[in-house]
């Protein structure tokens, strides 16, 4: 089975480009050029140089000794939290800003949930001297205040999305409307492996550096390139796509996805798309989607702004449907507890999104010799206020 996008951007039955005609010229321009541009020598050279010197790659693959003892398997952490700006998001924004430059665009827009993608976009815009506008749901502006301040300090304009659930989905709607209104000079840097083709595939390729590094790093540690499992949290699915990419066609590698169950999968306040969703169309692609029987998109809930999204990228819908990946979901409480455990066993405070991946041990028992690589997608600095309130730390 093929787990990557075909020429039209389909992963099995999922993907495609369901966009209004207003977006067609921009999306088509990108579709025709993205592969050619990103594999040009000059692009690759600049991309890799920036990942090395500016982002600080390769990010370490760290053997988590105490966590391994606790959970009875061999756990490695892929330290995307150590990237400049504190999460995996920057791998994609570096790639897309180089793409935007080559397409002659001068104005950048983005959506953000947790603010990590917004910060990573504002950062590369500062680096390249480009105008930057970030759409963010009003609710997320309130719960991710440090990232809002960072974006402003980096020179970006943060525009609140005030419609619907006032979270990531609505910020994405506003960004798409901006792109419709500014069809000539603007590039939209989507922050996850979602959206119309070619976005899911392009974002996945930029993030695939994660699994490319895991392979040679694990070889150094364990003498083999393939772990028994790779684990990642899924909002739209970009850190997961990057973590899985080079293992998709390696059947001995188990692929594990952890979604946000919010207050419980059946509580009515959840973002566990694979459990609650049906095939539908959101933000230009056909994918698993939380919706009413009437086809209205429902409002998700998660304590973590970055996972508070009613869909998943089309690659993940296909991994779920085909059975290639195992899907689990972790509640707010499980994710917070896992974040606290990681902090106290390994001295690493993760983003709450990332905490969901670490809650896998509540749901799955691994064997003693299993090598389990977890995507430590981001650090928890932005979430301190939520941690303080939740654990009554102040």
């Amino acid at each position: 089975m093929n787990y990557n996008a075909d020429e039209k951007g389909y992963y099995g039955e999922f993907g495609g480009a369901f966009i209004p005609e207003m977006l067609y010229p921009n999306v088509e321009e990108l579709r025709q050029n993205y592969l050619k541009l990103m594999y040009e020598d000059s692009f690759q050279k600049e991309f890799n140089q920036l990942l090395k010197d500016y982002v600080g790659r390769p990010s370490p693959l760290y053997f988590a000794k105490r966590l391994s003892e606790k959970h009875g398997c061999k756990i490695y952490l892929k330290r995307e939290d150590l990237n400049h700006t504190g999460a995996h998001k920057v791998n994609n924004t570096i790639g897309q800003i180089l793409m935007a430059q080559r397409l002659g665009k001068t104005r950048i827009i983005a959506e953000t949930g947790a603010g990590q993608h917004g910060v990573a976009t504002a950062t590369v815009c500062a680096l390249m001297g480009m105008e930057c506008i970030v759409y963010m749901g009003e609710i997320d502006i309130a719960r991710q205040a440090p990232n809002v301040a960072r974006m402003k300090m980096l020179g970006a304009e943060v525009r609140p999305a005030k419609s619907g659930s006032r979270t990531l989905k609505d910020a994405t709607n506003e960004a798409i409307r901006d792109w419709i209104n500014n069809p000539v000079d603007t590039h939209y840097i989507i922050g996850s492996a979602i959206g119309p083709h070619p976005y899911p595939d392009m974002v996945t390729r930029f993030q695939s550096v994660i699994s490319e590094e895991i392979k040679w790093q694990l070889k150094e540690h364990e003498g083999r390139e393939n772990p028994d499992y790779v684990v990642a949290c899924i909002g739209g699915g970009s850190n997961a796509a990057g973590t899985y990419y080079h293992f998709l066609d390696e059947p001995e590698v188990g692929i594990i996805a952890v979604e946000a169950a919010g207050k419980g999968v059946n509580s009515g306040e959840s973002a566990a798309t694979s459990a609650l969703g049906k095939v539908g169309i959101i933000h230009g692609c056909k994918t698993m989607l939380m919706q009413t029987t009437d086809g209205q998109i429902t409002e998700p809930y998660s304590i973590s702004a970055g996972l508070d999204y009613p869909g998943v990228g089309p690659m993940h819908s296909h991994l779920f449907k085909s059975g290639r990946a195992e899907f689990y979901s972790a509640t707010d409480d499980e994710a917070m507890a896992a974040g606290l455990e990681l902090s106290q066993l390994e001295g690493i405070i993760p983003a709450i999104e990332t905490g969901h991946a670490f809650a896998i041990f509540e749901h799955k028992k691994f064997k003693k010799d299993d090598v389990v690589v977890i995507s430590l997608s981001g650090r928890g600095d932005k979430d301190l206020n939520t941690y303080i309130d939740y654990f009554k730390l102040a």
């Binding site: 495609g16 480009a17 369901f18 966009i19 209004p20 005609e21 207003m22 067609y24 010229p25 419609s163 619907g164 989905k169 709607n173 798409i176 409307r177 419709i180 209104n181 500014n182 069809p183 000539v184 049906k278 539908g280 169309i281 959101i282 933000h283 230009g284 989607l289 919706q291 029987t293 009437d294 086809g295 209205q296 998109i297 429902t298």
Partner: protein
């Protein structure tokens, strides 16, 4: 294929088409609004099936859609409201909505229902040309529905020709690079665009939409095009003046 849209397009006049969101201001206003629009000389109606995430729409239609959904509007309820509409209304009726609600209803079931009711066409901004042609054109044709495609000032001539070939009613000409309801008047740029399209001598007539709000913009848009569609301005009027003010609105246009 002869349907009410093609017949209407042959009339020797500029067409005024009005969009409104079904279920707004109140859930059961739909039929009354349609009847009043016809009574006051409107040529064609786009009935908006509300969607939670209307990407191509500005704040006015977003808000009317949210309100309609809060009022309880669903695809099934809309079809029920329209079930006897052809007993009283004879102008062309088009359903305009996003693709996901139609997909969930079942594309074929949706089209079948449209034909039973006497709906003449569909406008689905996020159903792209290639997907339509590969997967759905046969179904639309079976139920004698005209599918209306959009073009914008950025659409290339080659693509406009493709869309013209695929169309069998009219082409929805989006006036400017924008979501609905956001332009204030037309300038030189629009005039050039209108003239460029007119000079292409397309097989299908064009009806201009987005940013038409009064007599002046209606006149400008229909100088070269066959007609114009008013949406946000009509909804704003309904919000301010209520559902009994349809006649008053139409008089301000022509």
């Amino acid at each position: 294929m002869s349907n009410r849209i093609t017949t209407k397009l042959q009339e020797d006049k500029k067409l005024l088409s009005i969009y409104f969101t079904a279920g707004y201001p109140a859930l059961n206003d739909t039929v009354q609004i349609i009847q009043d629009l016809e009574k006051n000389g409107v040529d064609m109606i786009e009935i908006g099936l509300p969607f939670s995430d209307p990407l191509a729409d500005g704040p006015t239609i977003q808000e009317s859609s949210t309100a309609a959904l809060k009022n309880g509007m669903t695809t099934e309820i809309l079809f029920n409201q329209l079930k006897n509409i052809r007993k009283t209304v004879s102008i062309p009726l088009i359903i305009m909505g996003y693709f996901n609600p139609m997909l969930q209803y079942g594309v074929e079931a949706f089209c079948k229902k449209c034909q039973e009711i006497g709906i003449d066409g569909l406008i689905l901004p996020d159903l792209p040309l290639d997907v339509y042609q590969e997967d759905y054109e046969a179904i639309f044709k079976k139920y004698e529905l005209i599918n209306v495609f959009l073009i914008t000032p950025q659409t290339s001539d080659i693509r406009i020709r493709q869309i013209d070939d695929a169309s069998n009613g009219f082409i929805y000409m989006v006036s400017s690079a924008s979501v609905t309801g956001s332009k204030s008047g037309f300038g030189q740029e629009q005039e050039n665009y209108f003239e460029r399209i007119a000079a292409m001598n397309l097989k299908n007539p064009q009806i201009v939409g987005f940013g038409i709000k009064d007599e002046e913009t209606f006149q400008q848009a229909t100088k070269t095009a066959k007609g114009a569609i008013i949406g946000s301005a009509f909804i704003k009027h309904l919000t301010a003046k209520g559902t009994n003010s349809v006649a008053e609105f139409v008089k301000t246009i022509r």
